[in-house]
């Protein structure tokens, strides 16, 4: 009888789960009969291959080396409670809600669907009215998320330097994933762009650090608005007139508190932080000629000077 490796693996797993007691390789071979080759050496090699493949799938095959009469012999078993997913008792509504979430949010990997099947759900095959695309294509992504969840210290190259980082958390914002953690090289908390990590990351032991109490991922990564306010400049705010079409967006970003005056044509004068002038310029010029600095005069002069330099192609 010729038997495929897939079939043998499935039978081996069924045996280890069903017998619910440690078995030696000898016992396994007795039970599985001719599924393993006759020669001890070939049987051992095939068994090791199967075991490694099963473990790779996440099956917790446990081992113990015996003493006494059978000294040196190893036993193998699978503890059902470490293997099986407990029943979460999801209601039908909850399952449908998860199905829709998985259909709507694209992560670039199939893990969401797999989780759904295991939770007894089904992949939605119809198109959804809305979708969200969260970049997840980075080769290091799954090592990093695992390290965050298991609190393993990471090692990687970043901007040409070797970093050792305790990963406190991750944030997906505006199409990028950020990793926030304690950088042992800088001896301080730092933010890293995941897609700018060079080469492969390696992770250390589980639970090797503690995340500070009250750590907040969203707050740890400065927004454009915060960058503009976090400078050394003397002047901290500028009056910026934004034309009607873009005014709503700026209002959204800076809030009603930043509004100085709404004009009849729908344009709005805002008080915008400009302590960090280069961050301010980035923000301002993204609106091209739909925005204009009105005051203070020194900031207005500076903006005009930038424009003149560019216009002559300095």
């Amino acid at each position: 009888m010729k038997i495929s490796q897939a079939e043998r693996m499935l039978n081996l797993l069924a045996l280890l789960v069903d017998r619910n007691r440690p078995l030696t390789l000898r016992a396994v071979r007795q039970e599985l009969g001719k599924q393993y080759p006759n020669s001890d050496e070939a049987a051992r090699a095939a068994f090791e291959r199967d075991k490694a493949a099963l473990r790779e799938m996440g099956i917790p095959i446990e081992t113990k080396t015996l003493g006494g009469d059978s000294a040196g012999e190893v036993t193998y078993w699978v503890n059902r409670s470490n293997y099986e997913l407990s029943d979460l008792k999801l209601s039908d509504d909850e399952r449908v809600a998860l199905q829709l979430a998985v259909a709507t949010v694209r992560l670039g990997a199939q893990h969401g669907e797999e989780a759904l099947w295991k939770l007894g759900g089904e992949k939605v095959l119809r198109p959804t009215a809305v979708s969200v695309n969260i970049g997840f294509v980075d080769q290091n992504m799954s090592s990093i998320t695992t390290a965050v969840m298991q609190r393993r210290t990471l090692n990687f190259d970043y901007k040409g330097e070797k970093r050792q980082v305790d990963p406190y958390g991750m944030l997906s914002r505006s199409g990028f994933w950020y990793l926030i953690g304690f950088d042992h090289l800088r001896k301080d908390q730092r933010v890293f762009r995941v897609d700018r990590i060079e080469g492969k990351v390696t992770a250390g032991q589980m639970r090797s650090f503690k995340t500070p109490v009250g750590f907040d991922v969203a707050a740890a990564v400065p927004t454009e608005k915060q960058m503009m306010a976090a400078g050394e400049g003397e002047l901290t705010t500028a009056t910026v007139l934004v034309d009607a079409p873009l005014a709503a967006g700026v209002r959204n970003e800076f809030g009603d508190a930043a509004i100085i005056r709404e004009r009849a044509d729908g344009s709005i004068e805002f008080a915008i932080p400009c302590a960090n002038m280069s961050a301010f310029r980035l923000w301002l010029f993204a609106m091209v000629e739909s925005a204009e600095v009105l005051a203070p005069a020194s900031v207005r002069r500076q903006v005009i000077q930038w424009l003149e330099e560019l216009a002559v192609g300095k």
């Binding site: 897939a6 992560l107 893990h111 969401g112 099947w117 969200v132 998320t145 991750m170 010029f285 216009a311």
Partner: protein, 360 residues
Amino acid sequence: MPAKKPVKKAVPKKPVKKAVPKKPVKKAAPKKPVKKPAHQARRRGPRSAAQRVTGLLVMLPWIMQRQRVKISTMAKQFNLTEAELIEDLQMASVCGVPPYTPDALIDVYMDNGMVIAEVPLLFSRPLKLSTAELFAISVMAQTALQLPGANKKGPLSSALTKIAPLMPTGAETIKVELPRAKFVKELREAVATGERCDIEYFSPASQKRSKRIITARKVFEDAGRWYVAADDHQSGEDRIFRIDRIEQIKPIGIFDQLNEQDDQDQQWFSGKMSQVTLRVEPSARWIVESYPYISRVNKRIKNMDVVDITMSITSQDWLGRLLLRAGGGVKVVKPVEYQNLGKKAAKTVLDRYKKSGATS
């Protein structure tokens, strides 16, 4: 379900008056070939033993819970061809534990186009969720909860609460932030009903507002912005609009047939792109950090470390704005016809300052 009959995005310029709102008229009139749905398009070589076993460990508990499912439905669900599914299930049905008598085998068989698994003897429970799976499902649920109009206290959030005990500590520090935009909710509803909308749209290229009539087809978020893909009845083309540039929206009571094309693999921003090579000086290094590029080369020119990056751009306006924002720290290497875009943008803005300076 018309699984094998992809409904073409049928240029639905003829409005269907909404008599019975829940049953849109279906009219399959494919004119150009439609790409196959994702689950059929995937091409692979022969599957390894490990892949087959991994798949079975997910499929067996799933089918045992349901007891009877159509072969075709199940194959589609698990991204397999029917032949692959049958092959795998036939193999599983002869596996089990010694002495391999009928009552000691995995109870699964196929009959009359159905997969049947009525006695959950072996492999009736799924394997625990892996870290990657836990991460994926919680991030997806967390993100979906942030969508405009989502019920924050509904079944999705209670499902998350039930999953929470499985999460390793630290999982709560992984967060997704979605941008906010007005009208996402309204457009989402318009996609679901097929109702046309009047919109007022601001186009940065022309710096003008325009009124349009659109049928929204899909609302999506990409790289921090919301978009709506729609049939634009003015131009008769499929267009993509940035939702944050829509200023007004009004449904007008005309309903088009719904679009049922499977769009899982759709690339929204393909086509219409051109490539540019930019030389980035240290002062503008943020560009290298901020935008996806195709390739980069580090160089040393006139005692300065510069980076040449090649990237795809969608419009000259966008590039002009980028050059303006970079304030001289970026030069266009090629194509030459783009080299003046930054200058042009600066002059446009300067004109505004000159004008207002004269009057104020």
